[in-house]
């Protein structure tokens, strides 16, 4: 079963290389994919529908903490996924990681 670890943070980490402690977790075989996101100032949100959509500049949910990255892991159950999330969070000083089971997924390329 796959889980998405949604890493929220309040500090702009910059676009330098991934810290060693985080890289160690990302290199584990259970991590099947990951994405670092540009800061939320780069976000564009599409809303509306039924032929009329509206673009807004910025993230859908405006919060002090922003979604910084998504890590996809393979884990047998929630406890195993939470264990990976804990390892990751322990390398960070702020923010939080939301763990969500993936209903369906497709990943191409890299």
């Amino acid at each position: 079963m796959q889980y998405a670890l949604l890493a929220y943070g309040s500090q702009r980490a910059g676009d330098g290389p991934v810290e060693d402690a985080i890289a160690e977790v990302l290199a584990r075989p259970c991590v099947t994919g990951w994405a670092r996101l540009h800061a939320d100032g780069s976000a564009t949100t599409v809303r509306g529908g039924e032929g009329r959509t509206l673009l807004t500049d910025g993230p859908f949910i405006e919060t002090r903490e922003y979604l910084a990255g998504v890590i996809v892991v393979e884990a047998g159950n929630l406890d195993a996924a939470l264990a990976i999330a804990r390892d990751l969070q322990e390398t960070r000083t702020t923010g939080a990681i939301e763990v969500r089971p993936i209903l369906q997924a497709l990943f191409h390329g890299a």
Binding site: N77, D79, P101
Partner: protein, 393 residues
């Protein structure tokens, strides 16, 4: 034959095994309900089977397979189950099947920290206790529909996020067991606080099941001891619908057998080297039953408990013990540092100490605040009574 009794006795055990087999609480619940309905119809006619739990589990499992087949939604699961079922002839299953007791797995699933505490409590009462959604809703004063949604959401989260159906590994066990014990104790204190003997009895039953399943865990034994020692006073605690304070209780109404059982369990927990918060609380409950009360030791144990839990309610209780030892002002000094304005017992305890200190006006205001926060009629009557006595004295 009283099926109610049979139902209560077997529900948790039957459901747990079914969750283990079917991998889904909702599915298991539906199947178990169907099997109990069949039993209600057949057992009075044909007699109770030699192994009622085994019969109920086999019947429920077979019903679940039929159900799955009809639905054809979980095709793969059905194939596996059908193969298993084909391997054992039905008659043999009904007569002699033995199934593993998986209630521990179930309670650790229901009390998983990924679920909100209120969902953990509701789910535990529903699955292990066999209470209906309506009964749980009534106990926690929420509409049945709200409780039904809460239960459904929790079951879906367990399924979708795949919360494990397992006893946690050793390194996680202390934290996870603490969560389970907290749920059981919350059910007990909720029932006890509101004078709901049925809920308190439910918590004791859960505590007994846990003690049977984990006989080497000192804190499990201590929690059961704590609940038994409190509950032993149930008949003396309410007289004609009014709350009777411990010192005014008729000791002949205390359940002596339950007190000795509680003390025995507490001793076993201490012998195992356990010094956790439930051991301390059970020891305090034990001291409260002895006359004259050893306030010095009670205050010392509250100091220990306060350091263990950091809970301001423990400090409130320590203040009451200290007031008995060193006078009301010493107790009031401790209360002054606590932020418990929302807590009804804080105000009633403070009012009592203020009264003893001769500060009647402040006592009156504190009683009035307690009255605003009171939850039951008996509480309101008791507080009104104190207020009247304050005015006349």
């Amino acid at each position: 034959m009283a099926l109610d009794g049979v139902f209560r006795e077997h529900w948790g055990r039957v459901l747990a095994t079914l969750v283990g087999i079917l991998g889904d609480i909702e599915l298991a619940e539906d199947a178990a309900a169907e099997a109990f309905a069949i039993a209600a119809e057949r057992w009075p006619r044909d007699g109770e089977p030699g192994n009622p739990a085994g019969w109920l589990i086999s019947t429920a499992r077979n019903r679940a397979i039929d159900h799955l087949r009809r639905q054809r939604v979980l095709a793969e699961k059905t194939r596996i189950l059908a193969r298993e079922r084909a391997a054992e002839p039905e008659a043999a299953v009904h007569e002699s099947a033995t199934f593993p007791d998986e209630r521990l797995e179930l309670i650790f699933t229901c009390c998983h920290p990924a679920l909100a505490l209120e969902a953990q409590v509701a789910l535990t009462l529903r699955t292990l206790g066999g209470l209906s959604t309506e009964e749980i809703a009534l106990a926690f004063l929420v509409p049945a529909e709200t409780m039904s949604k809460r239960l459904t959401r929790a079951k879906h989260k367990i399924r979708d996020a795949r919360i494990p159906f397992a006893v946690p590994p050793a390194h996680q066990l202390p934290d996870r067991l603490a969560a389970v014990l907290a749920v059981v104790y919350l059910v007990f204190s909720h029932g006890w606080g509101d004078g709901r003997v049925d809920l308190a009895a439910e918590a004791i039953q859960l505590g007994r099941a846990l003690a049977g399943l984990m006989p080497d865990e000192g804190e499990v034994l201590a929690l059961l001891a704590l609940m038994l020692l409190h509950d032993a006073r149930r008949d003396a605690r309410i007289r004609d619908g009014e709350i009777v304070l411990l010192d005014d209780q008729d000791r002949a109404l205390w359940d002596d057998q339950q007190i000795s059982e509680g003390r025995e369990l507490l001793q076993q927990a201490i012998t195992r080297g356990e010094t956790g918060p439930y051991v301390v609380q059970a020891a305090i409950a034990d001291l409260h039953l002895r006359q004259p009360r050893d306030w010095r030791q009670i205050a010392a144990l509250y100091t220990t408990l306060s350091a263990q839990t950091g809970n301001p309610v423990v400090e409130l209780n320590r203040a009451i013990a200290v007031a008995e030892l060193d006078g009301p002002d010493a107790g009031l000094a401790i209360l002054g540092g606590l932020e418990l304005d929302h807590y009804r017992y804080f105000h009633s305890a403070r009012a009592e100490l203020l009264r003893r200190a001769g500060r009647a006006d402040e006592a009156r205001r504190a009683y009035q605040r307690a009255l605003q926060l009171a939850r039951t009629d008996a509480e309101r009557r008791s507080l009104t009574d104190q207020l009247t006595r304050l005015s006349s004295g």
